[in-house]
Amino acid sequence: MRRDERLGPRIPSSEITDESAWRRRDVLRAALALPALALAGCRERAYGDVAPLPEGVDSADGRRTTEPQTRFQDASTYNNYYEFGTTKDAPWRNAQGLRTKPWSVVVAGHAERTGTFALEDVLRLARPEERITRLRCVEAWSMVIPWLGLPLGRVLAQFRPTSRAKFVAFETLADETQMPELRNPTLDWPYREGLRIDEAMHPLALLATGMYGRDLPNQNGAPLRLIVPWKYGFKGIKAIVRIEFTEDMPATAWNRSAPDAYGFYANVNPAVDHPNWSQRSERRIAGSAAKLFAERIPTRPFNGYAAQVASLYAGMDLGRWF
Protein backbone atom coordinates (compact mmCIF):
# COMPACT_ATOMS: atom_id res chain seq x y z
CA MET A 1 0.00 0.00 0.00
CA ARG A 2 2.29 2.76 1.15
CA ARG A 3 5.38 0.99 2.30
CA ASP A 4 8.90 2.01 1.40
CA GLU A 5 10.70 -1.27 1.51
CA ARG A 6 14.18 -0.03 2.34
CA LEU A 7 13.05 1.64 5.53
CA GLY A 8 12.43 -1.20 7.93
CA PRO A 9 10.84 -4.64 7.92
CA ARG A 10 7.62 -5.16 5.97
CA ILE A 11 4.46 -5.99 7.82
CA PRO A 12 3.21 -9.43 6.77
CA SER A 13 0.06 -9.00 4.72
CA SER A 14 -1.83 -11.21 7.16
CA GLU A 15 -1.40 -8.42 9.73
CA ILE A 16 -2.77 -5.67 7.49
CA THR A 17 -6.50 -5.15 7.12
CA ASP A 18 -7.18 -4.77 3.44
CA GLU A 19 -8.05 -1.14 2.84
CA SER A 20 -11.11 -1.86 0.74
CA ALA A 21 -12.36 -4.27 3.38
CA TRP A 22 -12.38 -1.74 6.15
CA ARG A 23 -13.85 0.90 3.88
CA ARG A 24 -16.67 -1.49 3.05
CA ARG A 25 -17.14 -2.19 6.72
CA ASP A 26 -17.26 1.54 7.42
CA VAL A 27 -19.98 2.13 4.83
CA LEU A 28 -21.98 -0.81 6.16
CA ARG A 29 -21.61 0.46 9.71
CA ALA A 30 -22.74 3.89 8.61
CA ALA A 31 -25.78 2.48 6.82
CA LEU A 32 -26.74 0.55 9.92
CA ALA A 33 -25.99 3.54 12.13
CA LEU A 34 -28.84 5.61 10.73
CA PRO A 35 -31.69 3.58 12.26
CA ALA A 36 -29.48 2.77 15.23
CA LEU A 37 -28.98 6.45 15.87
CA ALA A 38 -32.71 6.84 16.29
CA LEU A 39 -32.57 4.25 19.02
CA ALA A 40 -29.33 5.66 20.41
CA GLY A 41 -31.19 7.92 22.75
CA CYS A 42 -32.74 4.89 24.38
CA ARG A 43 -29.45 3.09 24.75
CA GLU A 44 -27.71 4.13 27.88
CA ARG A 45 -24.16 3.19 28.50
CA ALA A 46 -23.20 2.79 32.12
CA TYR A 47 -19.66 3.87 32.85
CA GLY A 48 -18.68 0.37 33.83
CA ASP A 49 -19.62 -1.07 30.46
CA VAL A 50 -16.90 -2.11 28.09
CA ALA A 51 -17.81 -0.34 24.88
CA PRO A 52 -16.41 -1.78 21.65
CA LEU A 53 -12.96 -0.63 20.65
CA PRO A 54 -12.08 -0.13 17.01
CA GLU A 55 -11.06 -3.32 15.28
CA GLY A 56 -7.34 -3.73 15.10
CA VAL A 57 -4.37 -5.11 16.92
CA ASP A 58 -1.10 -3.58 18.00
CA SER A 59 2.19 -5.28 17.31
CA ALA A 60 3.77 -6.57 20.52
CA ASP A 61 6.17 -3.62 20.71
CA GLY A 62 3.38 -1.13 20.07
CA ARG A 63 5.08 0.30 17.01
CA ARG A 64 2.32 -0.58 14.57
CA THR A 65 -1.41 -0.89 14.91
CA THR A 66 -3.85 -2.28 12.38
CA GLU A 67 -6.69 -0.06 13.56
CA PRO A 68 -8.28 1.83 10.66
CA GLN A 69 -6.14 4.78 9.70
CA THR A 70 -7.09 8.40 9.44
CA ARG A 71 -7.19 9.81 5.93
CA PHE A 72 -4.18 11.91 4.98
CA GLN A 73 -6.46 14.81 4.09
CA ASP A 74 -7.93 14.77 7.59
CA ALA A 75 -4.62 14.38 9.40
CA SER A 76 -3.18 17.28 7.42
CA THR A 77 -6.09 19.73 7.65
CA TYR A 78 -7.10 19.35 11.28
CA ASN A 79 -4.23 20.54 13.41
CA ASN A 80 -3.48 22.43 16.59
CA TYR A 81 -0.48 24.58 15.78
CA TYR A 82 -1.25 27.89 17.42
CA GLU A 83 1.76 29.71 15.96
CA PHE A 84 -0.21 29.74 12.72
CA GLY A 85 -3.63 30.50 14.21
CA THR A 86 -5.92 29.00 16.78
CA THR A 87 -8.46 27.30 14.54
CA LYS A 88 -8.00 23.80 13.18
CA ASP A 89 -7.73 24.97 9.58
CA ALA A 90 -5.33 27.85 10.26
CA PRO A 91 -2.15 25.72 10.24
CA TRP A 92 -2.65 24.23 6.78
CA ARG A 93 -3.76 27.58 5.40
CA ASN A 94 -0.97 29.65 6.93
CA ALA A 95 2.00 27.31 7.21
CA GLN A 96 2.69 26.68 3.55
CA GLY A 97 5.32 29.40 3.42
CA LEU A 98 7.32 28.06 6.36
CA ARG A 99 10.96 27.58 5.32
CA THR A 100 12.05 24.15 6.49
CA LYS A 101 15.32 24.10 4.51
CA PRO A 102 17.94 24.82 5.69
CA TRP A 103 17.18 23.71 9.22
CA SER A 104 19.41 23.26 12.21
CA VAL A 105 18.92 21.92 15.69
CA VAL A 106 20.75 23.28 18.73
CA VAL A 107 21.70 20.58 21.21
CA ALA A 108 22.61 21.92 24.64
CA GLY A 109 22.84 21.05 28.30
CA HIS A 110 24.26 18.04 30.10
CA ALA A 111 25.76 16.10 27.22
CA GLU A 112 29.23 15.50 25.85
CA ARG A 113 28.31 16.50 22.32
CA THR A 114 26.54 19.84 22.10
CA GLY A 115 26.35 22.54 19.50
CA THR A 116 24.37 23.48 16.41
CA PHE A 117 23.76 20.64 14.00
CA ALA A 118 22.37 20.68 10.49
CA LEU A 119 19.17 18.66 10.28
CA GLU A 120 20.69 16.27 7.70
CA ASP A 121 23.39 15.40 10.22
CA VAL A 122 20.86 14.78 12.98
CA LEU A 123 18.86 12.52 10.66
CA ARG A 124 21.91 10.36 10.04
CA LEU A 125 22.23 9.46 13.70
CA ALA A 126 19.78 6.54 13.53
CA ARG A 127 18.00 4.38 10.99
CA PRO A 128 14.50 5.59 10.09
CA GLU A 129 11.54 3.41 10.98
CA GLU A 130 7.90 3.34 10.11
CA ARG A 131 5.39 3.61 12.92
CA ILE A 132 1.60 3.40 12.84
CA THR A 133 0.38 4.76 16.13
CA ARG A 134 -2.61 6.41 17.71
CA LEU A 135 -2.51 10.12 18.41
CA ARG A 136 -4.88 11.15 21.19
CA CYS A 137 -5.52 14.85 21.52
CA VAL A 138 -6.33 16.26 24.94
CA GLU A 139 -9.51 17.63 23.32
CA ALA A 140 -10.85 14.04 23.25
CA TRP A 141 -10.44 13.18 19.59
CA SER A 142 -7.91 10.77 18.15
CA MET A 143 -6.33 9.66 14.91
CA VAL A 144 -4.29 6.71 13.66
CA ILE A 145 -1.34 7.92 11.62
CA PRO A 146 1.51 6.16 9.79
CA TRP A 147 4.70 8.05 10.63
CA LEU A 148 8.25 7.79 9.43
CA GLY A 149 11.00 8.85 11.77
CA LEU A 150 13.97 8.13 13.97
CA PRO A 151 13.67 6.54 17.39
CA LEU A 152 14.29 9.47 19.73
CA GLY A 153 16.36 7.48 22.21
CA ARG A 154 18.85 6.35 19.58
CA VAL A 155 19.32 9.92 18.34
CA LEU A 156 19.73 11.36 21.84
CA ALA A 157 22.23 8.66 22.79
CA GLN A 158 24.55 9.93 20.05
CA PHE A 159 24.94 13.22 21.94
CA ARG A 160 26.09 11.26 25.00
CA PRO A 161 24.00 12.79 27.78
CA THR A 162 25.69 12.76 31.17
CA SER A 163 24.25 11.45 34.43
CA ARG A 164 23.01 14.96 35.24
CA ALA A 165 20.60 14.78 32.32
CA LYS A 166 17.34 13.90 34.03
CA PHE A 167 15.05 15.52 31.48
CA VAL A 168 15.05 16.48 27.83
CA ALA A 169 13.60 19.87 26.87
CA PHE A 170 12.45 20.78 23.36
CA GLU A 171 11.69 24.08 21.69
CA THR A 172 9.76 25.00 18.55
CA LEU A 173 10.79 27.63 16.05
CA ALA A 174 9.38 31.03 17.02
CA ASP A 175 9.77 33.25 13.98
CA GLU A 176 7.44 36.25 13.91
CA THR A 177 8.02 36.80 10.22
CA GLN A 178 6.71 33.33 9.36
CA MET A 179 4.25 32.67 12.17
CA PRO A 180 1.37 35.18 12.34
CA GLU A 181 0.03 34.27 15.77
CA LEU A 182 3.33 35.02 17.50
CA ARG A 183 2.27 38.66 17.71
CA ASN A 184 -0.36 37.56 20.24
CA PRO A 185 0.43 36.14 23.68
CA THR A 186 -1.95 33.22 23.14
CA LEU A 187 0.72 30.92 24.55
CA ASP A 188 4.08 31.60 26.09
CA TRP A 189 6.27 31.58 22.95
CA PRO A 190 8.42 29.75 21.97
CA TYR A 191 6.41 26.54 22.38
CA ARG A 192 8.27 24.30 24.77
CA GLU A 193 7.90 20.68 25.75
CA GLY A 194 9.82 18.10 27.68
CA LEU A 195 10.17 14.48 28.67
CA ARG A 196 11.80 12.64 31.52
CA ILE A 197 14.98 11.02 30.27
CA ASP A 198 13.61 7.46 30.54
CA GLU A 199 10.50 8.50 28.58
CA ALA A 200 12.72 10.04 25.90
CA MET A 201 14.76 6.84 25.69
CA HIS A 202 11.70 4.63 25.33
CA PRO A 203 11.51 2.85 21.95
CA LEU A 204 8.04 4.27 21.23
CA ALA A 205 9.20 7.90 21.31
CA LEU A 206 9.83 9.05 17.77
CA LEU A 207 11.37 12.02 16.00
CA ALA A 208 9.06 12.08 13.00
CA THR A 209 10.16 13.37 9.60
CA GLY A 210 7.40 11.97 7.44
CA MET A 211 3.88 10.60 7.34
CA TYR A 212 1.78 8.64 4.85
CA GLY A 213 4.85 7.89 2.79
CA ARG A 214 5.77 11.54 2.24
CA ASP A 215 7.60 14.33 4.03
CA LEU A 216 5.84 15.81 7.03
CA PRO A 217 3.59 18.65 5.85
CA ASN A 218 4.38 22.01 7.47
CA GLN A 219 1.14 21.99 9.44
CA ASN A 220 2.06 18.61 10.97
CA GLY A 221 5.34 19.87 12.36
CA ALA A 222 7.87 19.79 9.53
CA PRO A 223 10.71 19.21 9.36
CA LEU A 224 11.09 17.51 12.74
CA ARG A 225 8.32 16.63 15.15
CA LEU A 226 8.10 14.62 18.36
CA ILE A 227 5.66 11.73 18.59
CA VAL A 228 4.94 10.23 22.01
CA PRO A 229 1.92 7.99 21.41
CA TRP A 230 1.09 7.29 25.05
CA LYS A 231 0.74 10.97 25.88
CA TYR A 232 -1.68 13.66 24.79
CA GLY A 233 -0.90 15.16 21.41
CA PHE A 234 0.27 18.52 22.73
CA LYS A 235 3.41 16.76 23.99
CA GLY A 236 4.25 16.12 20.34
CA ILE A 237 6.16 19.34 19.84
CA LYS A 238 6.51 20.51 16.24
CA ALA A 239 9.28 22.16 14.19
CA ILE A 240 11.98 21.37 16.75
CA VAL A 241 14.92 23.77 16.79
CA ARG A 242 16.38 23.04 20.20
CA ILE A 243 17.00 19.98 22.34
CA GLU A 244 18.42 20.48 25.81
CA PHE A 245 19.39 17.93 28.44
CA THR A 246 18.37 19.40 31.78
CA GLU A 247 18.64 18.45 35.41
CA ASP A 248 15.32 19.99 36.41
CA MET A 249 11.84 19.46 35.00
CA PRO A 250 11.53 21.89 32.09
CA ALA A 251 8.68 24.36 31.65
CA THR A 252 6.09 23.35 29.04
CA ALA A 253 3.79 25.64 27.07
CA TRP A 254 0.37 24.27 28.01
CA ASN A 255 1.31 23.72 31.62
CA ARG A 256 2.28 27.39 31.79
CA SER A 257 -1.00 28.34 30.15
CA ALA A 258 -3.31 26.34 32.44
CA PRO A 259 -1.53 24.28 35.09
CA ASP A 260 -4.74 22.76 36.44
CA ALA A 261 -5.63 21.43 33.00
CA TYR A 262 -2.29 20.41 31.45
CA GLY A 263 0.40 18.63 33.40
CA PHE A 264 3.99 17.85 32.55
CA TYR A 265 3.49 14.14 32.12
CA ALA A 266 0.18 14.36 30.20
CA ASN A 267 -0.12 10.59 29.99
CA VAL A 268 -3.42 9.61 28.39
CA ASN A 269 -5.54 8.62 31.37
CA PRO A 270 -9.31 8.07 31.28
CA ALA A 271 -9.42 8.40 35.06
CA VAL A 272 -8.12 11.98 35.14
CA ASP A 273 -10.52 14.54 33.70
CA HIS A 274 -9.66 17.81 32.07
CA PRO A 275 -11.39 20.58 34.04
CA ASN A 276 -13.69 21.21 31.07
CA TRP A 277 -14.41 17.70 29.85
CA SER A 278 -14.14 14.03 30.71
CA GLN A 279 -11.25 11.99 29.32
CA ARG A 280 -13.09 8.71 29.57
CA SER A 281 -13.89 8.56 25.88
CA GLU A 282 -12.82 10.08 22.58
CA ARG A 283 -14.04 10.67 19.01
CA ARG A 284 -11.97 8.56 16.62
CA ILE A 285 -11.31 10.34 13.35
CA ALA A 286 -10.53 7.52 10.93
CA GLY A 287 -11.69 6.13 7.62
CA SER A 288 -13.95 8.08 5.34
CA ALA A 289 -17.50 6.83 5.44
CA ALA A 290 -20.15 8.64 7.49
CA LYS A 291 -17.78 10.53 9.77
CA LEU A 292 -20.76 12.41 11.06
CA PHE A 293 -21.55 9.27 12.97
CA ALA A 294 -17.95 8.62 13.89
CA GLU A 295 -17.87 6.40 16.88
CA ARG A 296 -17.09 7.55 20.34
CA ILE A 297 -14.77 4.96 21.81
CA PRO A 298 -13.42 4.39 25.29
CA THR A 299 -10.06 5.96 26.06
CA ARG A 300 -7.48 3.51 27.21
CA PRO A 301 -4.82 4.16 29.85
CA PHE A 302 -1.64 5.32 28.13
CA ASN A 303 -3.63 5.43 24.89
CA GLY A 304 -3.52 1.64 24.70
CA TYR A 305 0.23 1.48 25.16
CA ALA A 306 0.15 0.45 28.83
CA ALA A 307 1.90 -2.84 28.10
CA GLN A 308 4.87 -0.95 26.71
CA VAL A 309 5.11 2.08 29.02
CA ALA A 310 3.24 1.56 32.28
CA SER A 311 6.41 0.36 34.00
CA LEU A 312 7.91 3.83 33.56
CA TYR A 313 5.36 5.10 36.07
CA ALA A 314 5.27 2.26 38.58
CA GLY A 315 4.54 3.64 42.00
CA MET A 316 3.64 7.12 40.72
CA ASP A 317 0.35 8.71 41.73
CA LEU A 318 -1.00 9.42 38.24
CA GLY A 319 -3.78 11.56 39.66
CA ARG A 320 -1.19 13.90 41.11
CA TRP A 321 1.37 13.63 38.32
CA PHE A 322 -0.95 14.16 35.39
Binding site: T86, K88, R280, R283, L292
Partner: protein, 192 residues
Protein backbone atom coordinates in the same frame (compact mmCIF):
# COMPACT_ATOMS: atom_id res chain seq x y z
CA UNK B 1 -36.50 36.59 6.68
CA UNK B 2 -37.06 32.97 7.64
CA UNK B 3 -34.99 32.04 4.61
CA UNK B 4 -32.14 34.28 5.73
CA UNK B 5 -31.83 32.80 9.23
CA UNK B 6 -32.03 29.28 7.83
CA UNK B 7 -29.10 29.81 5.48
CA UNK B 8 -26.52 28.73 8.10
CA UNK B 9 -28.46 25.50 8.62
CA UNK B 10 -28.67 24.90 4.90
CA UNK B 11 -24.92 25.37 4.63
CA UNK B 12 -24.38 22.95 7.50
CA UNK B 13 -26.50 20.32 5.78
CA UNK B 14 -24.76 20.89 2.46
CA UNK B 15 -21.35 20.59 4.07
CA UNK B 16 -22.38 17.55 6.08
CA UNK B 17 -23.45 15.74 2.92
CA UNK B 18 -20.43 16.79 0.92
CA UNK B 19 -17.65 16.07 3.41
CA UNK B 20 -17.29 19.82 3.87
CA UNK B 21 -17.29 19.81 7.65
CA UNK B 22 -13.65 18.80 7.86
CA UNK B 23 -12.00 16.00 9.76
CA UNK B 24 -14.17 16.31 12.85
CA UNK B 25 -17.71 17.04 11.65
CA UNK B 26 -19.22 16.80 15.12
CA UNK B 27 -16.89 19.44 16.53
CA UNK B 28 -17.54 21.68 13.53
CA UNK B 29 -21.32 21.35 13.83
CA UNK B 30 -21.16 22.03 17.55
CA UNK B 31 -19.21 25.23 16.89
CA UNK B 32 -21.43 26.43 14.05
CA UNK B 33 -24.75 25.81 15.80
CA UNK B 34 -23.44 27.47 18.97
CA UNK B 35 -22.08 30.44 17.01
CA UNK B 36 -25.40 31.04 15.26
CA UNK B 37 -27.43 30.63 18.42
CA UNK B 38 -25.35 33.33 20.08
CA UNK B 39 -25.28 35.63 17.05
CA UNK B 40 -29.04 35.46 16.60
CA UNK B 41 -29.58 36.03 20.30
CA UNK B 42 -27.46 39.16 20.17
CA UNK B 43 -29.21 40.25 16.97
CA UNK B 44 -32.51 39.79 18.79
CA UNK B 45 -31.27 41.97 21.63
CA UNK B 46 -30.22 44.61 19.12
CA UNK B 47 -33.74 45.12 17.81
CA UNK B 48 -35.09 47.34 20.59
CA UNK B 49 -32.10 49.72 20.53
CA UNK B 50 -32.30 49.70 16.75
CA UNK B 51 -35.94 50.77 16.84
CA UNK B 52 -35.08 53.63 19.16
CA UNK B 53 -32.20 54.71 16.97
CA UNK B 54 -34.15 54.60 13.72
CA UNK B 55 -37.51 55.61 15.13
CA UNK B 56 -39.11 52.85 13.00
CA UNK B 57 -41.21 49.86 14.12
CA UNK B 58 -39.85 47.16 11.83
CA UNK B 59 -37.05 45.95 14.11
CA UNK B 60 -39.60 44.84 16.68
CA UNK B 61 -41.29 42.67 14.10
CA UNK B 62 -37.99 40.86 13.61
CA UNK B 63 -37.30 40.50 17.30
CA UNK B 64 -39.46 37.44 17.89
CA UNK B 65 -38.21 35.68 14.77
CA UNK B 66 -34.60 36.21 15.75
CA UNK B 67 -35.22 35.06 19.31
CA UNK B 68 -36.99 31.90 18.22
CA UNK B 69 -34.29 31.00 15.74
CA UNK B 70 -31.65 31.61 18.38
CA UNK B 71 -33.48 29.03 20.47
CA UNK B 72 -33.73 26.76 17.43
CA UNK B 73 -29.97 26.82 16.84
CA UNK B 74 -29.37 26.42 20.58
CA UNK B 75 -31.53 23.29 20.51
CA UNK B 76 -29.54 21.98 17.56
CA UNK B 77 -26.34 22.75 19.44
CA UNK B 78 -27.51 20.76 22.45
CA UNK B 79 -28.75 17.90 20.25
CA UNK B 80 -25.49 17.67 18.32
CA UNK B 81 -23.62 17.47 21.59
CA UNK B 82 -25.79 14.81 23.22
CA UNK B 83 -26.75 12.69 20.22
CA UNK B 84 -23.85 12.95 17.77
CA UNK B 85 -21.00 13.69 20.14
CA UNK B 86 -21.72 11.77 23.32
CA UNK B 87 -23.80 9.05 21.61
CA UNK B 88 -24.09 6.09 23.96
CA UNK B 89 -22.18 8.04 26.58
CA UNK B 90 -24.96 10.62 26.88
CA UNK B 91 -25.20 10.10 30.64
CA UNK B 92 -21.99 12.08 30.77
CA UNK B 93 -23.99 15.26 30.24
CA UNK B 94 -25.39 14.86 33.75
CA UNK B 95 -21.87 14.79 35.11
CA UNK B 96 -20.94 17.73 32.87
CA UNK B 97 -23.79 19.79 34.30
CA UNK B 98 -22.37 19.48 37.75
CA UNK B 99 -18.65 19.33 37.18
CA UNK B 100 -18.00 21.69 34.27
CA UNK B 101 -18.89 25.32 34.89
CA UNK B 102 -19.04 26.15 31.21
CA UNK B 103 -21.64 23.41 30.64
CA UNK B 104 -23.65 24.63 33.64
CA UNK B 105 -23.66 28.12 32.15
CA UNK B 106 -24.77 26.82 28.77
CA UNK B 107 -27.50 24.67 30.28
CA UNK B 108 -28.73 27.61 32.35
CA UNK B 109 -28.84 29.79 29.25
CA UNK B 110 -30.85 27.13 27.42
CA UNK B 111 -33.16 26.62 30.41
CA UNK B 112 -33.91 30.37 30.39
CA UNK B 113 -34.55 30.43 26.66
CA UNK B 114 -37.01 27.55 26.78
CA UNK B 115 -39.89 29.35 28.56
CA UNK B 116 -39.20 32.40 26.42
CA UNK B 117 -39.60 30.36 23.27
CA UNK B 118 -42.76 28.74 24.58
CA UNK B 119 -44.36 32.08 25.54
CA UNK B 120 -43.30 33.96 22.44
CA UNK B 121 -46.76 33.97 20.81
CA UNK B 122 -49.28 36.79 20.91
CA UNK B 123 -51.64 34.49 22.78
CA UNK B 124 -49.18 34.23 25.60
CA UNK B 125 -48.48 37.96 25.54
CA UNK B 126 -52.15 38.50 26.20
CA UNK B 127 -52.38 35.78 28.82
CA UNK B 128 -49.41 37.06 30.79
CA UNK B 129 -50.08 40.77 30.39
CA UNK B 130 -47.46 42.89 32.07
CA UNK B 131 -45.83 39.74 33.47
CA UNK B 132 -44.78 38.85 29.93
CA UNK B 133 -42.40 41.78 29.80
CA UNK B 134 -40.87 40.83 33.11
CA UNK B 135 -40.48 37.18 32.10
CA UNK B 136 -38.83 38.07 28.85
CA UNK B 137 -36.23 40.20 30.56
CA UNK B 138 -34.66 36.84 31.31
CA UNK B 139 -33.22 37.07 27.80
CA UNK B 140 -30.48 39.36 29.18
CA UNK B 141 -29.40 36.70 31.65
CA UNK B 142 -29.61 34.04 28.95
CA UNK B 143 -27.35 36.05 26.66
CA UNK B 144 -24.85 36.71 29.43
CA UNK B 145 -24.79 33.01 30.35
CA UNK B 146 -24.34 32.06 26.70
CA UNK B 147 -21.32 34.35 26.42
CA UNK B 148 -19.89 32.88 29.63
CA UNK B 149 -20.45 29.38 28.24
CA UNK B 150 -18.43 30.30 25.17
CA UNK B 151 -15.72 32.15 27.09
CA UNK B 152 -15.16 29.43 29.66
CA UNK B 153 -15.25 26.74 27.00
CA UNK B 154 -12.37 27.91 24.84
CA UNK B 155 -8.88 26.51 25.38
CA UNK B 156 -6.69 29.59 25.16
CA UNK B 157 -7.93 32.09 22.57
CA UNK B 158 -10.63 34.23 24.17
CA UNK B 159 -10.81 36.83 21.42
CA UNK B 160 -14.07 35.65 19.85
CA UNK B 161 -15.99 35.30 23.13
CA UNK B 162 -14.53 38.65 24.19
CA UNK B 163 -15.97 40.22 21.04
CA UNK B 164 -19.43 38.84 21.79
CA UNK B 165 -19.10 40.02 25.39
CA UNK B 166 -18.29 43.50 24.13
CA UNK B 167 -21.32 43.49 21.82
CA UNK B 168 -23.53 42.27 24.65
CA UNK B 169 -22.16 44.95 26.97
CA UNK B 170 -22.97 47.55 24.32
CA UNK B 171 -26.53 46.29 23.85
CA UNK B 172 -27.15 46.08 27.59
CA UNK B 173 -25.58 49.49 27.94
CA UNK B 174 -28.16 50.93 25.55
CA UNK B 175 -30.95 49.51 27.65
CA UNK B 176 -29.43 50.70 30.87
CA UNK B 177 -29.06 54.20 29.43
CA UNK B 178 -32.69 54.20 28.30
CA UNK B 179 -33.87 52.95 31.70
CA UNK B 180 -31.76 55.59 33.44
CA UNK B 181 -33.17 58.37 31.29
CA UNK B 182 -36.69 57.13 31.97
CA UNK B 183 -36.03 57.17 35.71
CA UNK B 184 -34.59 60.68 35.50
CA UNK B 185 -37.68 62.06 33.76
CA UNK B 186 -39.98 60.34 36.29
CA UNK B 187 -38.31 61.81 39.39
CA UNK B 188 -39.73 65.37 39.26
CA UNK B 189 -43.31 63.96 39.07
CA UNK B 190 -42.97 62.14 42.40
CA UNK B 191 -42.60 65.43 44.21
CA UNK B 192 -46.15 66.51 43.31
Amino acid sequence: MHAAVLVPLALMVRDALGDGLGADPVAELTHRTGDWALRLLLACLAMTPLRRLLGRPWPIRLRRLLGLYAFFYASLHLSVYVVLDLQGWWMQVLEDLVKRPFVTAGAAAFALLLPLALTSTRGWMRRLGRHWGRLHRAVYAAAALAVLHFWWGVKADVREPALYAAILALLLGFRFAAWWRAKATQAPMRGE
